[in-house]
């Protein structure tokens, strides 16, 4: 089985779509007419430095994604079994599935880009090595429940979205918890409650539009499940101010069995992401099998990331209460006696660690015992 994936905002770069515009002059001409400027010039030369502005980024990516799909068909490739696209890319998935034409899709995307570009004072940040539960807990502790989860890209890669000031204020709370917090350069709080106004406006715009039944199964961002073709308009409106559940969608496809993913358009953001989602998926599968075979192990496997952080914290506190710096210890991996040169600490948000004299690297606290 095969799935084509279409990337969204963030994948754009100058030079994208080279060759495609000349290969599909008709579609390129139609795009120019709808947009009122040369799409080829924007993508290849970007003379006015507009490619990174949302209202230009979205139509540009949509056109490049769509043309690269046309190219596949022209080269004699079969239609895939599934299509999915990340945020803006979802429009390409729907277009490939025949829900709307190339031109209608571009008109939708143009409007969407314009509405989204009006959102100001927003901020977004990627959170690595955490979990949806932990993020929600941290936001609650920090009294920042005005921040929403924008993308669940993989279990270890989640994007949050909110007012710029709130996102800035959230940073130390995440850093204290030891997870990686990466502020992203965006102007709007995409996929958050702050897009509701834009979504309402978009809804009015969509009222006059007609959508056809998809001939390829499309995986929806907001559910991670196949599209309900009667609710296309509703899904596209909701997508603007709700989480993109990308990992759920990919996991749904992986559960179908042997699945080949191919990313169209530009870059390899989704391909890399698929690698992580596959890894999580096979770990989950493994755990599920282990659960079936070992009855005793069941409870232990269900411990969440949050729980293990708390365990590490307890371990560290316990260790520091009874083992001062200079404590002689034995490690599972060294024959000689070692001596601690620091107190125990939490590394990377979860690992209980301690440092030894004469050694640069950390020692896992679970692998050492005081002599």
């Amino acid at each position: 089985m095969k799935t084509y994936l279409f990337p969204g905002q963030g994948s754009q770069k100058k030079g994208m779509g080279a060759g495609l515009f000349d290969e599909f002059p008709e579609l390129t001409k139609k795009a120019d007419k709808i947009l009122g400027y040369s799409i080829k010039e924007l993508c290849l030369e970007d003379p006015n430095k507009q490619l990174n502005k949302t209202q230009f980024t979205q139509p540009a990516l949509y056109v490049v994604n769509a043309l690269s799909y046309q190219k596949k068909l022209k080269d004699g490739e079969k239609e895939p079994n599934y299509v999915a696209g990340h945020s803006l890319g979802e429009y390409n998935a729907l277009q490939a599935a025949g829900v709307f034409s190339f031109e209608s899709g571009l008109k939708l995307v143009k409007k969407r880009g314009e509405l989204m570009s009006k959102a100001k004072n927003g901020g977004m940040a990627a959170i690595l090595n955490s979990s949806e539960e932990q993020i929600k807990e941290i936001l609650k502790d920090a009294n920042l429940d005005t921040i929403d989860i924008a993308n669940l890209n993989a279990s270890s890669q989640i994007v949050i979205s909110g007012l710029k000031e709130d996102v800035t204020n959230a940073q130390p709370f995440f850093e204290k918890a030891g997870v990686m917090f990466i502020p992203l350069n965006t102007s709007g709080a995409f996929h958050s409650r702050y897009m509701k106004e834009a979504a309402d406006e978009f809804e009015k715009f969509l009222k006059r539009k007609r959508f056809y039944e998809p001939k390829i199964e499309v995986i929806a961002n907001i559910t991670g499940k196949p599209y309900d073709h009667k609710k296309v308009s509703e899904s596209l409106v909701n997508q603007l101010y709700n989480s993109v559940r990308w990992a759920d969608g990919m996991t749904y496809l992986l559960e179908k069995g042997e699945m080949e993913f191919e990313e169209l358009g530009v870059g390899e953001v989704l391909t890399k992401l698929t690698g992580y989602i596959k890894r999580d998926f096979s770990e989950k599968e493994k755990t599920a099998t282990e659960k079936k075979t070992t009855k005793k192990g069941v409870k232990k496997k269900e411990i969440t990331a949050v729980k293990s952080t708390q365990d590490s914290l307890a371990l560290v506190t316990q260790w520091n209460a009874s083992n001062p710096i200079g404590t002689k210890v034995k490690s599972d991996f060294y024959d000689t006696e070692l001596e601690t040169r620091t107190e125990a600490i939490i590394l990377f948000g979860h690992r209980a660690a301690v440092y030894m004299k004469g050694y640069n690297g950390y020692f896992d606290l679970r692998e050492v015992t005081a002599v």
């Binding site: 963030g10 430095k49 990627a126 690595l128 090595n129 270890s156 890669q157 800035t168 204020n169 940073q171 130390p172 850093e175 204290k176 030891g178 990686m180 917090f181 990466i182 502020p183 992203l184 350069n185 953001v269 890399k272 992580y276 710096i325 040169r341 620091t342 107190e343 600490i345 939490i346 590394l347 990377f348 440092y355 640069n360 690297g361 950390y362």
Partner: protein, 320 residues
Amino acid sequence: MNLKKVFLFSGQGSQYYGMGKELYENNKIFNFGMNECSEIVSAAIGKSLIEMLYDPAKKGQPFDQLLYTNPALISVQYSLYRMLQDMNIHPEYFMGYSLGEITSCIASEMLSLENGLNLSVTIAKMVEEKTPKAAMLAIMSGKEIIVQNPDIFSAFWLIATNFSESFVVCGLPKDIQTLQKSLQHEGIVSQQLPVTNGFHTPLIDAVENDLKAEIQKIQLSKGKIPIISSKDARIKNEVSHNDFWDVLRYSVNFENAVHTITNQHDCVFIDLGPSGSLATSVKYILDADSKSIPLQLINQYGKNLQTLEKFTEAFHKYNN
């Protein structure tokens, strides 16, 4: 043109042996400031700050011992500040980067020069004694690279954003070469910084309680001139004791801080740091159509008197 003057104070990583030497030899005010600082800290660091910093034999060697670099950075930038005051150039704001936030507070008179310098020595002693060695790498790329390649960054912390295409990570020394190689493989330029402890990461948590207790003893006052923090991009007229810990422990977002102030005013940013690196960052942060400008006072290539003259010329061109 009515540009607001923002004085920038840099942090660890921007230091080198011999910084400001020509000014020390030729500018009375700078010389006086440096001597004053040296007198305050020399007992605590066990040697003369001036002799150590301007020792000709040390020129070109890596200058990375926290015990000396911390007070040296504050001393040079404080003395440059005194020199600018004497030139009748007075700021509307101070903006500090990491350790530079302490210099901001000294310049704004939120804490005394003596307390500020001694605090920097206390920090150095505690961190060097009780926390593991670490390494820092400045990376010339957008931060998206971390999101796209989480595996190669898994042992690191993002500790600072300089501008959209430059950020800093910190990790353990044994991991840094692997990261550098992986980045090279991706065609990304990176440079190790002369800082050997894990500031802005949990690696320094071991000194949190002791350091906070020391900071608590310091007398703080309301500032004379507002400061802009590069930790949270807030404009402040006073700081709390815990702020000093927070600026060392949490990450720096210099880009954000610059945007905060340029959203309100057109500014002339004057970099009092020894290597002009903050002025360079500002240059990249400003929008193409911005009326704000960055200026540097001195840099690591010496010829302080020439660069100072160039600065004065540029400053008066924009500020009349």
